[in-house]
């Protein structure tokens, strides 16, 4: 029992040195990675997209090459849950997985077999080890409850398709902890979730850690790191470029990559001059209602009497949890959909009441940048054709190149299909297309939610910069308060189809009046 012990004399659950993983044709994806994790602690692995975080996480359970070419794994030292696994065969890995190591995969929404009940999925690792039925269901229910799911019995009988994203994430965690592993590896467990839900999941992980499980958290969300991690390893290009305690790495990042990561986190208000009161109204919505009938009968009140005004040069943020009606509002504002009641006026003239034929000549005044920009491009068109068509439709004299410069995209995008662009580039292209019309109002639905922090930061910067230059009014929809705060001057908080609070961003920040706003602000991860 020498060497395996840490300075404090506790055997590490995970002890890796010189881990190198390569793929045929790709080369080394991980190089010389050293990791060490003790029970009851949480190690966060952070890094930009493609840094190798997921490969690292999978290597820890012997599944580095999962879903692609078989990987070549080499390590000087590789101990997992007290067992030396250098050169372990499939059988030995299988004994570790599920029992000693619990794993939460990155794609939480698809990580439960949609054809099997949640109970069967959660109990699978027990079943594989021959645990009998009554005992198994007992432990499954226990794990589900432990993971913070209400009505465990009901959940166990449901299938993943019937659960919300947050519930699925919790069920997945339940399946990872059901056999009480010593190590829990969680790959981006909060990416797909909105702030309130994400906070719940992080709290759950924190609880598990406090109960003695070693947690390896893979994430690009530094807020989550700050909340949970004891130690941080920053990964870049497959190497650990910096590691240390969380406070140290987040507070005084040494390596440029770490510094860039920390800097990219939106913090504080943007430097925005106030919008003059007398600026003309470009968009006014009053009493909007929208009700959706649900397939099983019943209905949902997506909008329940919403009103707002947007003035020239203003940036209005709309914030709210998932399902609060933000996207519905956006669609009604741009008249992609009719409201059941209420009306929208555009630049002081009727808009929502017109027929589509009469709306068409004024369409160029409003533009929507949808939540999923890729879907909004004809897959057969390249960047050039997309922009040229947009320019022609609005009779603009600008050139596509000018539009690209506006959103800081290289001219080569003209010849590329949107599919081959990165997420951030696509988002910019969508914004460029919207700008072709020089619209009076630009409505952006979750423009950065799918992007990693660094990319997100640069898009937000572009938006702020844009508004300064063109004076276009913005309606920016997001569930991320920090994003709103950075770009907008006014914010409207939505909750269950209603606007529960509206006002200047800083004022709402300082003195939230609605209880829901307060809850939302509290769920915010602490800034690193």
């Amino acid at each position: 029992m020498s060497g395996g012990l840490s300075e404090e004399g506790v055997a590490p659950v995970l002890d890796v040195a010189g881990l190198t993983v390569s793929f045929p044709g790709v080369g080394e994806v991980l190089r010389d990675v050293d990791l060490r994790l003790e029970p009851g602690r949480c190690l966060a692995v952070v890094g930009g997209s493609g840094a190798g975080k997921s490969v690292l996480a999978r290597s820890l359970v012997g599944l580095a090459g999962e879903g692609g070419a078989p990987a070549t794994v080499a390590a000087e030292r590789f101990t997992v849950a007290g067992q030396d696994v250098t050169g372990a065969d499939a059988r030995r890995w299988r004994r570790l997985r599920g029992a000693e190591v619990g794993f939460v995969l990155q794609d939480a929404l698809q990580s439960l077999d949609p054809l099997r009940t949640v109970g069967a999925e959660v109990g699978e690792s027990l079943q594989l080890r021959g645990t009998r039925r009554p005992e198994r269901s007992r432990r499954v229910l226990q794990a589900l409850a432990h993971a913070g799911l209400d009505e465990p019995e009901t959940r166990a009988a449901q299938r993943s398709g019937e659960l919300s994203g947050g519930m699925r994430q919790r069920a997945l965690i339940a399946s990872a902890i059901v056999s009480v592993p010593r190590l829990l590896v969680a790959d981006e467990p909060t990416t797909a979730l909105d702030a309130t839900v994400a906070r719940g999941v992080l709290e759950l992980l924190g609880r598990l850690r406090d109960e003695g499980t070693a947690v390896l958290l893979v994430t690009h969300d530094l807020g989550a790191v700050a909340r949970l991690a004891d130690d941080v390893a920053v990964l870049d290009g497959g190497r650990v470029v910096e590691s240390g305690s969380a406070g140290q790495v987040l507070g005084r990042p040494a390596h440029p990559v770490s510094r860039a990561l920390v800097a990219a986190v939106p913090r504080g208000p943007g430097q925005r001059p106030p919008v003059p009161e007398q600026a003309p109204e470009v968009l006014r919505a009053t009493g909007l209602r929208r009700r959706y009938r649900l397939p099983g009968g019943g209905a949902v009140e997506a909008l329940d009497g919403v009103g707002l005004t947007v003035r020239r040069g203003q940036a209005l943020g709309v914030v709210g949890e998932s399902g609060s009606g933000k996207s519905t509002l956006a669609r009604i504002l741009v008249a992609a959909e009719r409201a059941d009641a209420g009306r929208v006026e555009l630049a002081g003239e009727p808009w929502s009441d017109l027929s589509e034929r009469h709306r068409r000549p004024r369409r160029h005044l409003v533009r929507l940048v949808p939540q999923d920009p890729l879907g909004s491009f004809d897959p057969r068109w390249d960047g050039g054709r997309i922009l040229r068509t947009a320019l022609r439709l609005s009779g603009s004299a600008q050139s596509p190149q000018e539009l690209l410069e506006l959103v800081r995209l290289p001219a080569s995008v003209l010849h590329r299909s949107p599919r081959s662009l990165s997420g951030g580039q696509r988002q910019r292209l969508a914004i460029a297309r919207a700008l072709a019309a020089e619209p009076a109002v630009l409505v952006l639905d979750e423009p950065v939610s799918a992007l990693d922090v660094t990319v997100q930061a640069s898009i937000l910067e572009t938006l702020a910069d844009l508004q300064e230059r063109t004076g276009t009014a913005l309606v920016l929809i997001s569930h991320d308060l920090a994003v709103i705060r950075q770009v907008c001057d006014t914010v409207a908080v939505m909750h269950r189809g209603r606007i529960v609070e509206q006002g200047p961003v800083e004022q709402v920040w300082a003195q939230p009046s609605a209880p829901f706003t307060r809850a939302l602000l509290e769920a915010r991860p602490p800034l690193p």
Binding site: V334, A335, A336, R360, P361, R363, H364, V366, R367, L368, P370, D372, G375, S376, F377, D378, P379, R380, W381, D382, G384, R385, A390, L393, S394, H415, R416, S417, R419, S420, A437
Partner: protein
């Protein structure tokens, strides 16, 4: 979609627009290079086979200068040899020459049947996808009923109405394929019509007919090229099945199905009579199928 596929589709679209600006020669070369890259080895072999068949169909004399119908009973049943690479048939006709000259009719048969199927499928599918609800309901039922009639059953019915021959067989196979195409088209057109990019175009102020021409039509039809390619191969095989039942091609036309069927009776004594047309049918159909598959994999979803 995998990174590789992303790049493939990028190549294709990029190639298309770049071509407008660049010189035609450069454009063609680039396009060809990108096509090669996206088809892969299997796809290239298939494309080669298809090209060969098309060449045989258009200029049979180039590949086989002889007369496919010239009889020479004295030379009947010659096994493959220097004089006749694929041997000769019961009437002493050169099997190789006949196979080459049969390409035109066989391919024509496949293409015609597919064209009929696609045409009708287009009508039914677009009608159902874009028309009012009642029309969708009605056409969907029509598609369902057509589906309930297996192709050979349909063919038998048609042949009994129109008599045997290539025409009715082609029509039958075309009709039998129509519901399949219609269903694909309907689903495809619906998803395109309700796609975010059509909505986006409408929000930019594009009128409905314009959006149809610009987005719906091309995006619905493109995947159909792949499906159609695949359909040609199968149509050839089904028409040949009709030949077997005595309902197919007219003699002495060297249609492959008819040749295969005639040679089948001599399978033990003169194997080469079936091998040549059999290879031709399977190679052409398999190559078309493979190519269709590659094309649909390359096609944007």
């Amino acid at each position: 979609m995998s990174a590789q596929q992303e790049n493939e589709s990028d190549h294709r679209t990029a190639g298309r627009t770049a071509g407008r600006a660049a010189a035609v020669g450069g454009w063609a070369r680039r396009w060809l290079r990108r096509l090669t890259a996206s088809l892969g080895a299997g796809g290239m072999v298939s494309a080669g086979v298809v090209l060969l068949v098309v060449l045989a169909a258009l200029l049979p004399g180039l590949l086989a200068p002889g007369d496919p119908t010239a009889v020479a009973p004295a030379q009947a049943y010659q096994p493959p040899g220097p004089g006749a690479v694929f041997g000769t048939d019961a009437s002493g006709r050169d099997v190789y020459t006949r196979v080459v000259h049969g390409a035109g009719q066989s391919l024509g048969v496949g293409a015609a049947a597919t064209a009929i199927g696609l045409g009708l499928g287009l009508l039914l599918g677009f009608g159902a996808a874009l028309g009012p609800r009642w029309l969708d309901g009605a056409l969907s039922r029509v598609i369902e009923v057509l589906f309930a009639l297996p192709s050979l059953v349909l063919a038998l019915l048609l042949v009994s109405v129109l008599g045997a021959g290539v025409g009715p067989s082609v029509l039958a196979v075309g009709l039998a394929t129509a519901p399949g195409y219609a269903r694909i088209l309907r689903a495809r057109a619906r998803s395109v019509v309700h796609s975010p990019y059509v909505t986006a175009a409408r929000l930019e102020g594009v009128s409905a007919p314009m959006a149809f021409v610009r987005h719906v039509l091309p995006n619905t039809l493109w995947p159909l090229i792949a499906v159609g390619t695949l359909g040609i191969g199968q149509a050839i095989v089904w028409v040949s099945a009709l030949s077997y039942l005595g309902l197919g091609a007219l003699p002495p036309s060297p249609e492959w199905g008819a040749m295969l069927n005639a040679g089948r009776l001599h399978i033990t004594s003169s194997w080469w009579l079936t091998v040549a047309p059999g290879l031709a049918i399977t190679a052409a159909a398999a190559a078309l199928t493979m190519l269709g598959r590659r094309l649909s994999a390359v096609a944007p979803a």
